[in-house]
Point group: C2
Chain length 359, copies 2
């Protein structure tokens, strides 16, 4: 598949300079078709019938396998979820932390991680990384670790600045359990889970799947308690709720997922080109360079595909104005920044349109 062929798959790119995959990725025609076909299939089979249930379980298994492959994991280590937030809640609820425990995070995390950290009951220590060179991040995070630290919990790519955090170095240096918010990484930069313990995946952003869909990698499913059980958690159940967990990480599945969405995701995963990481990085670099000529770029996030910058005037108003002009970027609340997300489908013309719309 050439770039032109790949790009032509996305109807939304015909209308918009769509630069917001960091919120929700574009959906391709094959993805939309798969969704519509699955909707019809469900009706033909009689949603709720015996054969239909079997087909749903098969679909889930196929998607689980593809998602595992993406990050170098085994399917038995992958749970299907609604979102990265879901994944963070599942992990934190299973760890049973208390007020004597500490977790270390960064000062630029998404609510989807921060909120579960807070409700865990543990003390949250915040490492200051976002306003400093990324090269200092490792030391800043390590300096927050104490004998009470039970978990490191942070993004692979900071959603605000695009900075890439030194996950594997953190794991190596501390040996502590590490929970990674992979919302801005999987699908747009290479990811290998390696020795990491928990890694959340968003399917609706860089993987171009329908929303809401996510996944959670759990290195050793037997070692984490099921804290938020869905019907998939158990393979057998006593009348008082005691249960034998399902095999592997499927025990953490967040529940039923819309079949049209799963079918759309399967098509999206199959349609991603081999050259996606190189192309996305190239377009992010181009976008960053073009913006830098006229605006301040925030952070040294060159290794990611997010480009945040400081526009003239109010960022939210600018995002709304750009939208009316056919350019979709997002403002980052409370910062005054705009963020452009560059994917493998992004063209130089998209970047030109952004610059031109910024006036």
């Amino acid at each position: 598949m050439t770039f032109d062929e790949g790009r032509a798959l996305f109807p939304v790119l015909e209308r918009f300079a769509y630069l917001n995959a960091g919120s929700l990725g574009p959906l391709s025609r094959p993805t939309l078709t798969a969704m519509e076909e699955r909707l019809r299939f469900d009706q033909e089979q009689g949603r709720g019938g015996h054969g239909w249930f079997t087909s749903v379980l098969e679909l889930r298994a196929r998607v689980r396998e593809e998602l595992a492959r993406l990050i170098g994991a085994s399917p038995t280590q992958m749970a299907l979820t609604d979102s990265t937030t879901d994944g963070c809640n599942i992990v934190l609820s299973g760890l049973e932390l208390g007020p004597d425990d500490e977790v270390v995070t960064t000062d630029s995390e998404h609510p989807g991680l921060l909120l579960p950290l807070h409700v865990s009951g543990a003390r949250v220590r915040v490492a200051e990384v976002a306003a400093r060179p990324t090269a200092n991040a490792l030391q800043a995070i390590l300096s927050c670790v104490t004998p009470r630290t039970r978990l490191l919990a942070l993004s692979h790519v900071l959603w605000t600045t695009g900075q890439v955090m030194p996950l594997h170095e953190l794991k190596r240096e501390t040996g502590l359990p590490i929970l990674v918010d992979g919302a801005q990484s999987v699908g747009t930069i290479p990811v290998e889970v390696g020795e990491l313990d928990y890694y959340t995946v968003s399917c609706q952003k860089w993987l171009c799947g329908p929303e809401p869909l996510g996944a959670l990698y759990v290195r050793d499913p037997e070692e984490l308690r099921v804290g938020i059980p869905s019907g998939f958690a158990q393979k057998s159940l006593e009348p008082d709720g005691r249960f034998v967990p399902a095999e592997g990480a499927a025990r953490f599945d967040s529940g039923w997922l819309a079949t049209p969405s799963l079918a759309g995701l399967e098509a999206a995963l199959a349609g991603a080109p081999e050259w996606r990481f190189e192309r996305a990085a190239e377009m992010a670099a181009l976008c960053r360079a073009a913006l830098r000529e006229r605006f301040e770029i925030v952070g040294d996030g060159e290794q990611s595909t997010l480009v945040s910058f400081i526009p003239a005037g109010d960022a939210a108003a600018q995002a709304a104005r750009l939208y009316d002009g056919g350019v979709i970027v997002r403002d980052l609340p409370g910062t005054g920044w705009l963020r452009a997300s560059c994917g493998w489908w992004t063209s130089g013309e998209d970047v030109d349109r952004l610059l031109s719309a910024l006036g």
Copy 2:
């Protein structure tokens, strides 16, 4: 809308004697159309754009209002969730029970309630109600209450036998917090939450919405901790995750929900006829009477729209055989029973086909 007009809305009823709304309800043409239109709308708007987000929040508000109206609640008392299981997890995670606390449930609950009860850490006391006349249920449940009881947690309609539990009497007699699994009630029998504390709603069963969609009623949202926060939980957030909760029960929203599914649900809610409860009860009575002539009916669930019975031979094999013959019912694992679900769309012919397929 006449019965014939209403029934004609469901394509699946043209192919199957569909008697499994207790798992997943049938989807009507207006619902399917609304889903397809929303999918197209999302693409035209550019999923992830500013105006699109606003339209999603408006859709959520409309659906929340309609669901609240259904059970005599205020929209500020309703959270949007994925499922009844989700709702049970949200409540249990918020109550912070421990090993010194007790919860009382029944011996015929769904995993979606039992699993969250178990992981809560509280001692689960199980009242035996399913093999006895429903008139004895109140006393059986009350006899399990002790000074350590912190919660009553049970179904409105038992998913196995269709027995209707005396919720309001339990609340009156004990004054204890009560969590109700409403999976088999809302949409098919009249429901008023009244003095109940927590009530879960399934949108994908008797309400004929797409899956997975649910709702959770919380009588006093300020009194329940947010235990499984999604991005909707907060209206402001500190860098360490401390947050000011969103207004009302929206703080318990389980996260992003698929917009085509929400649009489909909105159409389904608008399309339900006024006479639905009477008609569903009538068809359940007809189905029960017809089955009773040849099979043993399980339990005295005459007030509900579920009809469970003991078929000849293996129930799972029978369900599969019936499916091949165009009749959709479900087997209840571990019981040897089949369950027929009768809705307002059910016809006498559906019941005849069931009886005839049973041989």
